[in-house]
Symmetry: C2
Subunit: 208 residues, 2 copies
DNA sequence: GTCTATAGGTTGATAGAC
DNA sequence: GTCTATCAACCTATAGAC
């Protein structure tokens, strides 16, 4: 075989469906759901409105497709291993991955709140596919518990609560700028990491 | 004087403006911004659409009024003192206040994301009025720093980062159920509090 | 699969009586 | 201050040609 890349099914780029999906996400992020009209999406995607209705049943279906697509990285993120050699590096990597997922995902989750039906549909999708922060939190919790047994992490903290704390810090970091208009009060990833390391370090009393 | 309550200016209840504002918030929370039409608001408030346009310049102005109203409790919350006798009680009280504010506020912040103009207007309002989590975080940070000097809190943690951690946990608790459709992975207020107390407790090494 | 054209239905906003 | 009646604009969705 030659230098041919991985073989695919549909047509690689220029596929109208993909154009429509990414145009929809772009409009969603830049102008908001309220301004997300089929007209505007068609214009951006360089297709006609009719095309949209060929690929998707209706506006609702289009939005759902964009939502599911935006949440898909979470499934992958939940499955890949992440445990590294050193504690700090592992936590840092986890945080980076969470924030990378959250950046676009927050927009999607937020947009779904604009309509009760959308919210309900997305909630169902997340429940059915076991999506949410819990998988990652459980995984990280298990890792921390293991580190506890190794004596690397102090034994008198609840691992899952630590994991929740880490994720919630990432979530707020990913949300605040967009939602509040500034980042005042937000701790940096490094600051949060420093704090977590201080918290997790075994102490003389606790190690006993 | 008789049993007359406090004197007021406008008509006490039944004031059309108030009715409209609370009807708007109700529709916002139940059906979402997308379904928030002047028709629906008028119906719920028991007034005509014309009345809405008498009290507010347009739909945009109505929404802004509701947003500012929903964020108002934050200003109060930022000003009241909160330092109590014991550390745990103080933190618990702070968390409760933050979550009480956040419960309705998250809906408002989320709704503002539906339109770029709304988001921009609300962001400006928050910047102009110095609103956001930073005031509370700074206050709590100062309190923790004081407790450090008193030896009640271990000295080798950054107080503001601890405060951020506490608030971010509240923020995620207030957001997740609405946005994800379930609360899996979310640590309870008690669990978070336990973890914080463990973190803050002075250690033999650190106290030195 | 993609287009054009258009029907059908909402919605925000105004005018003017009371 | 509140109402009724109405308009103009816009948007979703469909039909049918290519």
């Amino acid at each position: 075989m030659t230098t041919a890349p991985a073989p695919r099914r549909g047509r690689p780029p220029s596929g109208g469906r993909e154009e429509i999906l990414s145009a929809t996400l772009a409009v969603l992020r830049e102008r908001g759901v309220a301004k997300l009209t089929t007209r505007e999406v068609a214009r951006r995607a360089g297709v006609s409105e009719g095309s949209i209705y060929y690929h998707f049943t209706d506006r609702f279906g289009l939005l759902l497709a964009v939502f599911e697509r935006g949440l898909r990285p979470l499934a992958d993120l939940n499955q890949r291993g992440f445990a590294g050699p050193d504690l700090r590096g592992t936590l840092a990597g986890f945080m980076a991955a969470v924030e990378a997922f959250l950046d676009p995902a927050v927009d999607v989750l937020t947009a779904a709140q604009s309509d009760a039906d959308l919210r309900e549909a997305l909630g169902t999708h997340m429940r059915d596919n076991d999506l949410g922060p819990h998988r990652g939190i459980t995984m990280l919790g298990a890792y921390l518990e293991q580190q506890q047994r190794l004596g690397v992490v102090r034994a008198d903290v609840d691992p899952e609560t630590v994991a929740y704390t880490l994720v919630s810090g990432c979530f707020m970091r990913a949300s605040q700028e967009r939602m509040v208009g500034h980042t005042l009060g937000v701790a940096s990833r490094e600051q949060q990491l420093d704090l977590l390391m201080t918290l997790l370090a075994p102490t003389e009393d606790a190690v006993k």
